[in-house]
């Protein structure tokens, strides 16, 4: 168990290094420089700026330097938003995104998993059809459709919730619902599938033959195995919530990291892109590590291998 986790941890660090390298060289390969866009700058000044940010050195040298900086927690300056370092931007916006992300994930899990369990247990009744059709509809309504729709209905038609900004608890509702409901739909479908697979197993028949009540069969015999698909999906779900936040933060004008990433990408802000990619990737790698551990904890067959 400890060996397994160490192995996965080291693997995660390798993956992060890989992501960093790919991102770095991808950004470096982009034609032009982050400072030459739009504003007409005198060539001498441009060269000075580039020298200041280390852009006069060869790419490989810059890679090593920036890797060193990142390991020290220095993500470099923001090239487009003068006078602000990437670290500042992260420090300011990360709490916002973290709040949005964790509330969304909570909505997704707390809504999706119970719905999936109920649908599986009450298969082919309205308790199955209604949540599952809703879930299917949810999956077909991506965040950038759901978001405007929710804003239209609750913000403009009923005018009960604010649709833009980030000033209080009521501002959290629509963005996190937009993100959360979409993944709730996924979790519901995965949990239903997982639970159904468990409920169709031979050993459920064994339990019934022992006189075990249905409730106990669901909770004690099937839940562990039935949740595995949903838990495995946590990693991709987090990745999805992060990229979904790009959209949702733009729609609802939430001052989080997602907006910064989109701005960075549109404006070729190298340091900002790099810093945020590393941050996002670290979160996802960490989540995947947790998922791996959870899987081993849930499935005894993995424990001894």
């Amino acid at each position: 168990m400890a060996k397994f986790i160490t192995l996965r941890f080291l693997q995660g660090i390798l993956v992060l290094l890989g992501i960093y390298a790919v991102t770095f060289f991808l950004v470096a390969a982009t034609p032009g420089s982050p400072f030459s866009s739009e504003r007409a700058i005198q060539p001498e000044i441009l060269a000075q700026i580039e020298a200041f940010y280390g852009y006069d050195k060869p790419t490989s040298e810059r890679f090593i330097a920036s890797l060193g900086n990142i390991l020290h927690g220095d993500f470099g300056p923001s090239a487009v938003y003068a006078n602000r370092s990437v670290t500042d931007i992260i420090a300011e916006s990360f709490p916002v995104s973290l709040k949005l992300g964790s509330i969304s994930l909570a909505i997704a899990l707390l809504l999706g998993i119970p719905a999936g369990i109920i649908a599986a247990v009450k298969k082919n009744t309205w308790l199955d059809y209604v949540p599952m059709s809703t879930a299917m509809a949810g999956i077909c309504l991506p965040t950038f459709v759901m978001g405007p729709l929710l804003a239209l209905v609750f913000g403009l038609i009923f005018a009960v919730l604010p649709v833009a900004g980030w000033f209080g608890p009521e501002f959290v509702v629509l963005p996190s619902a937009t993100l959360g409901l979409y993944y709730a739909a996924y979790f519901a479908r995965l949990t239903r599938g997982g639970m159904l697979e468990m409920l169709n197993q031979d050993w459920v028949r064994t339990a019934r033959a022992k006189g075990v009540p249905e409730r106990t069969i669901v909770w004690k015999h099937c839940l562990k195995g039935g949740l595995i698909p949903a838990i495995t999906f946590l990693g991709p779900a987090l990745a999805g919530i992060i990229s979904g936040s790009f959209v949702v933060e733009t729609i609802f004008q939430v001052p989080g990291l997602g907006q910064w990433f989109v701005k960075g990408a549109l404006n070729r802000d190298d340091f900002l892109i790099l810093g945020l990619t590393v941050l996002f990737a670290s979160l996802i790698v960490l989540m995947n590590l947790l998922v791996d551990i959870a899987q081993v904890a849930l499935n005894p067959r993995l424990k001894y291998d």
Partner: protein, 313 residues
């Protein structure tokens, strides 16, 4: 023994025994190879939701491809004097803020979105099938390493990479097709690999090996035809996933660039003005969601029809 008779055997296993009436058994003896597909087709036909989805999807395709020729407006033709107007007899879907006809823009946007779906799915199909079949066929350590790599990629933030690719190499539409295809091949590789792994243990492959056929020939002629069912299912489900990614990028301004429009671009434009001109959001969003809906249901239906063993209920 050819692989065709094996297909028939697989088809037989799929259906529970009592279902076989005398006529079915006779049919299978006559046309060995087609029974899997015939079975699948008859199962699909019984799934009303899937058939309805197929019909609606085809209607949407015709609407988007043929439609622009029937509407007397050009998608780029602006009428700033007119501006945004609601649906009317002249402009069924209304016009946007630049006075462009939304109906024809939605049709042409759909054409681009559907094309992305098709092209990127073909790219993902090629990569996924080749990768998966190779891993499954070679087996052993190579397979383990290749699949571990897929697992790793599964856990990565792809959308970020697609965004970076778009930034790095410019926002060309064709590049986007390839970029999306390059990240959506993982499920395909997995399904092909497990199919091949299961099939290569069967006698007809051993027979081909003992006859001294080359690896390439065995993979192309014997294995791929046999995993076609699940591949079609995944491909059908990849189309909506790919369209979603395209719309996502276009929504963020990183995908299809104006004056071209995909549904994602239109939804973004609509979203910006939805308080005043809600129809600009409603029409493209509705068609986009409907298309995704149909493709997902069709994919589910195909899964039940083509892969009865994996169909849970």
């Amino acid at each position: 023994m050819t692989d065709h008779s094996e297909t028939a055997v697989l088809g037989n296993e799929a259906a529970p025994l009592p279902k076989h009436s005398a006529s079915e058994i006779a049919d299978e003896e006559l046309v060995e190879g087609s029974s899997l597909w015939k079975d699948a087709w008859s199962r699909l036909k019984k799934n009303k939701l899937a058939v309805a989805s197929l019909v609606i999807f085809l209607v949407i395709c015709v609407f988007c491809v043929v439609g622009p020729f029937l509407v007397p407006y050009d998608s780029q033709q602006q009428d700033l004097f007119l501006g945004a107007t609601g649906p009317s007899a002249e402009h069924w879907f209304g016009t946007d803020t630049l006075g462009r006809d939304l109906l024809v823009r939605t049709m042409e946007g759909g054409r681009i979105s559907l094309m992305v779906g098709l092209v990127a799915t073909v790219v993902s199909l090629l990569i996924g099938v080749i990768y998966g079949a190779t891993a499954g066929y070679l087996g052993g350590k190579v397979d383990a390493a290749m699949m571990r790599f897929v697992d790793l990629l599964y856990a990565l933030p792809f959308t970020i990479f697609v965004i970076l690719l778009m930034v790095a190499f410019g926002r060309s539409m064709w590049l986007m097709f390839v970029a999306i295809g390059c990240v959506e091949w993982l499920s395909m590789a997995r399904i092909v690999r497990s199919g091949v792994l299961g099939l290569k243990k069967q006698e007809f492959v051993e027979a081909a090996v003992s006859l001294g056929y080359s690896h390439k020939r065995i993979i192309l002629r014997h294995l791929i035809p046999n995993v076609l069912g699940p591949v079609i299912v995944i491909a059908t489900l990849t189309v909506p996933a790919v369209m979603l990614l395209e719309a996502f990028l276009s929504f963020l301004g990183l995908g299809v660039q104006p004056p071209n429009a995909s549904w994602g671009v239109l939804i973004n434009e609509g979203q910006q003005n939805m308080e005043i001109f809600p129809w600009l959001l409603m029409f493209p969003a509705f068609l986009f969601a409907l298309t995704l809906f149909c493709l997902n249901f069709l994919g589910d239906g195909l899964r039940d029809a083509l892969d009865p063993k994996s169909a849970k209920d």
